[in-house]
């Protein structure tokens, strides 16, 4: 079977692994890595971290790169399943919607924060209220549907919602669900940017900016016997190639989110283990559909037909990815295979649509992108593929912060080649990109009339089957109206040193070190 065929029927995990790593690699690790040997206590895991944390307070920070450093220190109310991101119990032992606008959480007993403060209903209420009111909190939008939080028992919290919101369990498995010690918050003026106190498996030791973040084992952790490390040390190395070299040299044990072009480097290093797995990280072209040319659905569709996604994955991701036909990867619980069929590669159709749109002579797309090596490579391929259907495109490049703001805030350019890093609950992904007033809808343009209602439907019930159906409708609306041009999901590519056992990648692409232990 050819690789093309594999992709068309959707990759199985094994195929993805085989494809992604090839036979030359010394070892392959899947979700069940290390299961055959018995975990052992002890040792400090050294991780090459890709960015300095924006803050170690979950409410005041904002970068997606923080999570991998926050998860070890903060337990969340809900957690997510590594493979599907379905919410599962965490600090909340169970939860139920007593009616669509009331969410009741039953909390785990016997949990304490690192400073000895008891974890209870009051603590949860304090945390959620703070996320909604603290001036520097970045979580107000996450909890927008929460009207009030009441401690309805010593270990029971009731959330009254302003509208049905089944996405909340997912949201509470992310930043908003990270529980911070109320005692520490009160003592430090409401935020703990540099002195985190959570209820997680590891307690904070020190953080030196752009250098090192150190945490040590929390022996009082409620699952202490399932955590094997004495501590975790993050060496902050934003230059990913340098981070990878630090693992090859044995200075660190883990490097994560390595660009696919570094795959040969990992393969040459005999002592490393390669880990890959699907993620929700979607490389895509954002459209500004408020004005020409992308106010014309035919042009938006033409791009979707013109890009050969299989080729793109092979050429730019070295196979460490899969084609994207919507904003969810094929392994996601809400993925809809029918929607995926909407835009198979069809240059003839693209040409016909462009002809119909009757673009002016010498028309050229003004796209915006980034200056890093990977982005440039992607741009070259997109320019080439668009040229094949007779569409000229030009990219203006700059740094990520600069160009994202230029497109999303200052409304420059027709489209932006960037990525969507994903959210634990897909309703957030869709709401944040395809609502009339959301930041990621660059033109703040009108969305299809049925979309807001369809989005609301995805939050009505917690029943996975019904939600899947509701999402299928949302995805269909987004893709039939071609509000975006999704191109590829970039898979996680991690390099592990020889000591590391029990590491599992996850669909969110933000590594957790729960079951990790060190050998020797």
């Amino acid at each position: 079977m050819t690789k093309e065929n594999q992709y068309k029927r959707g990759l199985s995990r094994r195929d993805a692994l085989a494809l992604a790593t090839g036979s030359a690699v010394s070892a392959l690790v899947g979700f069940d890595a290390g299961a055959q040997s018995t975990p052992k206590r002890g040792g400090v895991l050294k991780v090459s971290a890709n960015a300095n944390p924006s803050s170690l307070d979950p409410a005041t920070g904002g970068a997606g790169s923080d999570h991998t450093m926050l998860f070890p220190m903060y337990d969340t109310l809900m957690e997510w399943d590594y493979e599907t991101l379905k919410p599962k119990p965490g600090l909340a032992e169970s939860w139920r919607f007593s009616d669509p606008q009331t969410l009741v959480l039953a909390l785990r007993k016997g949990v304490t924060f690192h400073d000895g403060t008891q974890f209870d209903a009051e603590a949860v209420k304090f945390n959620l209220d703070r996320c909604k009111t603290e001036p520097r909190s970045n979580l107000k939008a996450d909890l927008a549907t929460v009207a009030s939080v009441e401690a309805t028992g010593p270990m029971e919290v009731t959330l009254k919602l302003s509208q049905p919101d089944a996405a909340l369990p997912g949201i509470l498995s992310d930043r908003a669900g990270m529980m911070v010690s109320p005692t520490a918050l009160k003592a430090n003026g409401g935020a703990l940017d540099r002195k985190p106190v959570g209820a997680g498996a590891y307690t904070f030791v020190s953080w030196t900016d752009n250098e090192r973040l150190i945490m040590k084992r929390n022996d009082k952790y409620w699952r202490a016997n399932e955590r094997y490390l004495d501590g975790i040390e993050f060496a902050i190395i934003p230059e990913l190639a340098t981070g990878l070299r630090s693992v090859i040299a044995g200075q660190n044990d883990v490097a994560y989110s390595i660009p696919a072009r570094q795959k040969p480097v990992i393969q040459r290093a005999k002592n490393l283990t390669v880990v890959t797995g699907p993620t929700v990280y979607c490389i895509q072209i954002y459209y500004n559909w408020a004005r020409p040319p992308f106010d014309d659905i035919r042009i938006r569709k033409a791009l979707n037909f013109a890009i050969d996604r299989d080729m793109f994955v092979k050429a730019t991701l070295d196979g460490v990815g899969e084609p994207a036909y919507m904003n969810l990867p094929s392994k996601h619980w809400a993925y809809d295979p029918e929607v995926a069929k909407l835009y198979s590669y069809d240059p003839d159709k693209a040409r016909a649509l462009l002809k119909e749109a009757n673009l002016p002579q010498n028309f050229g797309l003004e796209l915006i992108g980034y200056t890093d090596q990977d982005s440039i490579r992607r741009e070259e391929i997109i320019i080439e593929q668009l040229a094949k259907v007779g569409l000229k495109a030009k990219f203006t490049n700059g740094s990520i912060a600069e160009m994202s703001a230029a497109f999303l805030k200052d409304k420059k350019g027709d489209g932006l080649l960037s990525a969507w890093t994903g959210r634990p609950d897909p309703s957030l992904t869709y709401a944040l990109m395809y609502s009339k007033d959301s930041y990621f809808n660059a033109g703040r343009a009108d969305v299809p009339a049925e979309l807001p209602e369809a989005l609301k439907q995805t939050r009505l019930t917690e029943n996975i089957d019904e939600r899947r159906k509701a999402f299928a409708k949302v995805q269909r609306l987004v893709m039939e109206n071609a509000l975006v041009c999704p191109i590829a999901f970039q898979f996680e590519l991690d390099a592990l040193g020889p000591r590391v056992k029990g590491f599992k990648p996850n669909l969110l692409g933000k590594p957790k070190y729960d079951g990790v232990w060190l050998e020797g």
């Binding site: 300095n52 944390p53 924006s54 803050s55 920070g61 904002g62 970068a63 997606g64 001036p135 520097r136 970045n138 107000k140 939008a141 996450d142 940017d193 540099r194 030196t208 900016d209 752009n210 250098e211 060496a235 902050i236 190395i237 934003p238 230059e239 340098t242 981070g243 070299r245 630090s246 090859i248 040299a249 044995g250 200075q251 290093a269 700059g398 740094s399 990520i400 912060a401 600069e402 160009m403 994202s404 703001a405 230029a406 805030k409 200052d410 890093t421 959210r423 957030l428 944040l432 007033d437 959301s438 930041y439």
Partner: protein, 318 residues
């Protein structure tokens, strides 16, 4: 030069320093504000609404007029308060004091290496012009100038760190914690940085020494019957001194700038690292603080070079 002359040099330099500092920090501040990109967007996080970004601007005072923001910064800086990083909340002065020793160690080692190898090479070449030694030294020097230091850095890492495991590939240890370990970590970065400097020093020493050795007064010295050794060491090198000091100060300043790249390759938390991250995220208090520190260092280096020049050549200070 008497103490009076030295005071005059110091006084003049310090007077010049004030406008340079204000101008440099103002230009950098203006550039940061002129460039697209906004720290408020970074601060607001991944899923920010426009209201949230506007709110952040209010909370952090980013909505004030440009000059008011710069004025506030300058006023605080005059009171030795460099304020805090917008992103990490750390005192900027703390960050600088933490990062600067790392950079200083690399630059210091690189400069020492460059002088220790560059001067003998230059002398060897100048005393035997057009010989095999001269041509070899000049070839090495051309190579040293042509090779970019980030490339050399990566070659050094792959050979000495990854292949032979002689030196660490990344990271650093604070000099105050363990001087030997700090030097061990700084060796490869210093080597990468020193190559260009060594070449530059060798060329300059060779050039000015050749000039002097072929000058009229050296011819007179020869005629008087002085030995070539005395002519070279006493009369030749002394006259190279001023040139060498000037090159060294320029080199020191250039190496400080080059650490931006070398620190990235070796993941060294120094000044270069600090300013790059701050600039990318428009964390202007940090950028301003680093620029201020760098300007002061450059002014100090130049001042020391001037004073030393005046000592070596009394004509300079007058």
């Amino acid at each position: 030069m008497g103490s009076h002359g030295a005071l005059k040099v110091v006084g003049r330099r310090l007077l010049q320093a004030a406008p340079v500092i204000v101008l440099a920090t103002f230009i950098v501040f203006a550039l940061l504000k002129l460039l697209p990109g906004d720290v408020a967007v970074t601060l607001a996080g991944d899923n920010a609404s426009e209201e949230r970004i506007a709110e952040i601007r209010r909370v952090y005072g980013l909505d004030r007029p440009f000059l008011a923001q710069y004025g506030a910064w300058l006023w605080n800086a005059l009171h030795f308060d460099l304020s805090r990083s917008l992103l990490s909340g750390e005192q900027v002065l703390t960050s600088i004091l933490r990062c600067f020793p790392n950079t200083l160690l690399i630059v210091g080692m690189a400069l020492t290496l460059a002088l220790a190898t560059g001067i003998p090479l230059g002398v060897a070449a100048a005393t035997r012009p057009d010989s095999f030694i001269d041509r070899t030294v000049m070839a090495i020097a051309s190579l040293g100038i042509a090779v970019p230091n980030f490339w050399l850095a990566m070659i050094l890492v792959s050979v000495f760190a990854l292949k032979w495991n002689l030196f660490p590939a990344t990271g650093t240890t604070a000099f105050s914690k363990s001087p030997t370990d700090a030097i061990y970590h700084a060796t490869l970065p210093a080597l990468a940085l020193a190559a260009g400097g060594m070449a530059e020093v060798a060329r300059q020493v060779r050039g000015s020494l050749l000039d002097i050795l072929s000058s009229q007064h050296v011819r007179t010295l020869h005629a008087k019957g002085l030995s070539p050794q005395i002519i070279l060491w006493k009369h030749g090198l002394k006259n190279v001194g001023v040139n060498l000091l000037t090159v060294t100060s320029l080199l020191a300043n250039r190496m400080l700038a080059a650490t931006v790249v070398v620190e990235a390759v070796f993941a060294i938390p120094g000044m270069g690292n600090l300013i790059v991250h701050a600039a990318i995220q428009r964390d202007f208090p940090v950028v301003q603080g680093v620029v201020l520190a760098m300007v002061i260092v450059v002014i100090l280096v130049n001042l020391i070079a001037d004073l030393l020049c005046a000592v070596v050549d009394p004509r300079v200070g007058r």
